[in-house]
Every structure is written in structure tokens, then in C-alpha cells.
Amino acid sequence: MHANTGKILRINLDDNSISVFSPDEELYKKYIGGSGLAAKLFYDMADFNCPALDPQAMLIFMNGPLAGVKFSGTSRMSAAGRSPLTNIFAESSCGGHFPPQLRYAGFDGIIITGKAAKPSLIHITRGKAEIVDAGWLWGTPISTANEKIKTKFGTQSKSLVIGPAGEHLVSFACILSNAHHAFGRCGFGAIMGSKNLKAIVIDHQNFNQSYYDSAKLHTLTNEITPRIKEHIFTQVLNDFGSAGNLEGHMYTGDVPIKNWSENFNEEMAENLTGSTISERYLTRKASCAHCVVACKRIIRIEDSPFAISEGPGPEYETVAALGCMLNSSDLAAVCKAGRVCNDLGMDSISAGATIAWAMEAFEKGHLTLHETDGIALEWGDLCTVIEKVLPAIAARKGNLGMLLSHGSKKAAEHIGNNSISYTAQSKGLEAPMHDPRGGGHGHALAYAVSPRGACHVSTAMHFMETGACNYPEIGFEFDLEALTDEKKPETMVLAASIGSIENSACFCQYADRPLSFNEMLELVNLSSGYGHTLDSFIEAGLRIFHLKRLINHRYGTVRADDALTERMLEPAREGDGAGILINFESMLNKFYSLMNFDDQKGIAKEETLRKLDLL
């Protein structure tokens, strides 16, 4: 085997048993790695009757073939399991430095079941693992836990850690790697918490990997790297971070404001955009391993009621979810809210979207002071969000904390009053901060059919619709008009495959934008020796997408679940998309037909499943 080690750690926390498992080599090629291989192992091995937070629930972390390659945007990995937020298949992707270290330690992934008798951590060093007590970490915020881990295991150790929200089983608790990079979505922090697992730590490892064709791989990465460095996308991401074009998004109506009820706010655009973050608070830039893009922000805020020490700054999604969605233009407050959310270990998208829904419910009288424990939920009041609401959710304390800890869909179902109509989610996963009514109608389709719920990164639609990529090799070479449904279902078919490939090979979707599709294929083949052709690569992407839909169907999803809420589909009130209806059902029908989906079940028909070797 090349690039991959062929070894996956299998850990049962019930009895502290640790073994090494080697999947069939053919599976690596068919499912590429990362999210695809994790989904396949989950499909084959998980107990589908097992609730998300049951001790026997399965939690998988999986590298792609590129983890460890010294090249931009390859230091990512995937997690898979059952989501406590959506109750269906959960997946999430995380960058940083953990993925190559796991590979250098000799493992492609980790499969965890069972529940430790007391708070524990998994400690991995070259070729082996042990389960050790983590009582000394339990209850600590993520930044504190990260510092303590570095003191004990060395400053170069790499970790995955949960915060108090994960310990308290908040449905959208996240996992942070080295207190910066997040497995943000779907509640993986709660899955770890339910297993009494506070952290996974790897000692520093030296590079050691063999590739199928090291010389050619080296030549190719050397050839592409200058192009990545010079690309306009890289320059923007490097100068201003992922929020670098928040202002531009605002003009097109792509940024949801005030719980998706507004689309343009000039003051907000100027105050919260990435260049303002850089000008005011940036102290330095940071990156995932081996990445020349360096889009990560390190910030410090002084002389402000929202002062924060030097540490990770917010990504675009965090700025929009905790700023625009809550109707605040106060950048310092937004940065602080993001920091608090991180430290407590919660997904900032779901947290922001759920609080935004609660603010609207409070305004409408659907939530009263009784249900909010006397806390007035006023638009733009980030002081209350930071001091009261986020800590209450993370601790699942009081009526409000308990209600919101389940996410917006379950909270809305609980209070009734048709408040579900103004949630912004699909299958229970709060939508990311791109509003299809302004950003592009294809996003609506992508949110509805993405396996984990409303998501803009599990497929490549977001990047294809915004013109950020062009793949003539596979027939995608047209500009899409954002505010129509024209060619969106056809694009979605390709987007489903490309997104699955990116998340399985574990390419970063920022850093890989300047790559051609052929180059992505070459990078995977030269490192792993899979020998994929363009056709078989695309087919593998589709196989992975269909497989995740099959998993969801086992959990009971059907076509009716491929839906968006009323709020997401009502015409925008302002901006370019004002008054325009999204032709949602027609796009969905066409996509179903192109994918040969069963109209009721929402999964591919038998002949397609057979063709993809899924039956």
C-alpha cells in the first residue's frame, strides 16, 4: 500500500481493548479514503438501531490518501457517525496538523465504540495507542485543556478535544483540534462526550511515508504550488481570511441577516468583512500543515468590553452566524462570541442559527420570559449572548439552555406555533451562511440533498455556482447564472461527485480551487497508486454520495426529507434576489431523475446501485 498505511485503530472503551484492523485494499480505491471510506465502514459495521449517543454508537475518524503529503490543502480528515442533532448520518471535516501526525504514527483512521468508565483520553504514539485517565481535563474549556495537554504530552503534540458542551451532550457540540481547527458540524463533540472521551492526543511524529511515485508526486506538487500561491483566491484568503469577501457576498444577497429575514446591511458589511478583521485585530496568520494559503487568523482585542487574548480568530461562517444572523455589526463582540463558542466547544453555525431563531421567536412572543429564564433575547445584544445564552446552552442549564441545546428544529417542534417555519435548516442541520435566494438557487438544491442536511461543502455546488472552478475535463465549463434554476440539477450531479471526491481524498476546498480536475486525480494516483481514470474517479464520487443516501434511508429518510423550510424559500425582501421565487421542486424533480432516484425513497434505484456496486 502507498500513502495509506492500511491500518485502522479499533478501540472499544467498554473494555479498553485496542486492536488494529485492516480493511480490504480494494475498499480504499473504491471509496478513496476520508469521508468515503468512513461511510463505507460505518455502513458495514455500525448498528443502525443504536441511538446517536448510545455507548455502542460508532465514531470514526479517517484520513484520506493525501494526509501527510507536503502539499497545500491536504492536511484534512473526516469524521463519521450518527448525529445527535439530526439523527441521521453525520460527517464533518477538519484541518490542522492532526491528520498527517496520525498518518506518520502509522494509522489511516480510528474507530471508537463503547463508553469509558470514567473521563478518559486516547494517547497515540508511533504504532500504538493507550487509554489513559482524563479526570484532570474534564470540565475544562477547550483552550485550557489544550494547554494542559501540551504541558503533559509536549508542545508538539496534536490533539482533538471537546469542551463543556460535548461533556454535557449538547446536540451541536464540536471537536477542536489544537483549540483552533474544528470538526464543527453534526454534534461530534457530544458523541465523544457520550463516550466519556475528552481527547485524542498524538505525540509528535517525524515524517515517514512512501508514495506510489514519489518523484513524480514531488515534481507535480512543486509545479502546482507557485500557481496556488499566486492565485487571486489565495491572496484574498491569505490577506483577509475566509471572511475576506463577506462584503462582496452581502451585495449579492448571499449573507443571511437577522435569521434570514434581511439580505443587505452596509454597516454590517463594512464592519464585519475580513479586511476589517485584519486591519483591527490580526496579530499573525496561521495555517494547516504544509499549506501556503494560510487562511487562518490569529487575533487579539484590547481596550474593548469584548477584549480577548491572542488566539484563533473567526472564520466567515462564525462571523456571519454570530454577527449577521444576530443582527450585530460589532466586530469585537462577534470575535468574542466566536471565541466563547469555541472554548465551550460548540458549532458556531448551529449555535448562531439556533439563537437567531430564538430571538425571532422572542420577538414574536412564541418564546416568553418564562421559557428564557428571564433573559430578554434582543436582536444585536451580543453581551447577553456571550454572558448568558452560550454558557447556558453549553451547560444545558435552565429552560433556555436545555431548549436551545437541541438545535433549532427540535426547539421549534417543542414550542410549536409554527415556529419551524422560520428555522433555516434541512434534516435538522442548520444551514450555513450562504442564502440561496441571493447567492445562487443551486445552493437550495445542494442544501436539500446533501447527505448530512443543509451543507455547502459536502458537494461542490457552492464553488461551481460562484464560478470558483471550471473542469472542462469532465464537462463543466460554463458560467452559471446565480438566480435561476438553469443547469443547476445537471451541475448538482457533478457537484455531488466532486464534493464526495474532495471530502474523501481530503482536499481543502479553499486550497484546491486553482487545481484542475486532472491534477486532483494525478495527486491521488501518484500518492496512493489507486490508478483511477477520470471516469472511475467520478464514479467513485457518485458511489460515495449514493452510499451516504443509503445510510440515511436506513435511518428512515425519504424524499420528503429533501426539503427546505418556508423561511429559506420565501422570496428575499431586498437586494438582487428580491421577489424572485426559487424553482425548488422543479430542480429537485430533475435531480431525482438524473440520479435515477426512487421518487418516494430518495435513494437510487436498484440498477444504479448495482452499477455502483452498492448492492
Partner: protein, 78 residues
């Protein structure tokens, strides 16, 4: 009598705010959005949308005296 020239204000939005800034320029009568794009070429990898008085405008849109032109980069999000 010849048509007088038109005076328009141009601003860059998003990360083009720094690059283009805000300025007022004089254009010949009959100028269109496509003429503005020629004056402010941006990276070939970048798509831009031009807004006239905050409304999206096509290349053939005719410009008028006093128009506010925003050049907005289309760029994937976070």
C-alpha cells in the same frame, strides 16, 4: 449641441474596496457597464458583478450622470 459627459462614482466592494477605492470619473455620453469593466480590469480568475445604484446591471446597461457603480467580486465563501 453635443451631449455633455457623465460623471459617475465607482467603488470597489469586498476585497476590491482597497484595490479600486471610491472615485468619481467622467465618462463619455452613451457609456455602458462594459466600458467600466474595461477601465478596471481585475484578475482573470475572478468574476465580478457590476451593480448600478445597488441593482445588478448587465454589460449593456447604459450609464447616467450621478450613477453609483459598485464592482463586486464573486468569490466563494467560508
Amino acid at each position: 449641441m453635443r451631449n455633455p459627459s457623465i460623471s459617475i462614482t465607482i467603488e470597489g466592494a469586498g476585497f476590491l474596496r482597497k484595490k479600486i477605492g471610491t472615485r468619481t470619473i467622467v465618462m463619455p455620453p452613451g457609456s455602458r457597464v462594459s466600458d467600466i469593466k474595461k477601465q478596471f480590469p481585475v484578475d482573470t480568475d475572478l468574476r465580478v458583478i457590476v451593480f448600478v445604484n445597488r441593482k445588478k446591471a448587465s454589460d449593456s446597461h447604459a450609464l447616467h450622470n450621478g450613477d453609483l457603480i459598485s464592482i463586486v467580486p464573486i468569490f466563494f465563501g467560508g
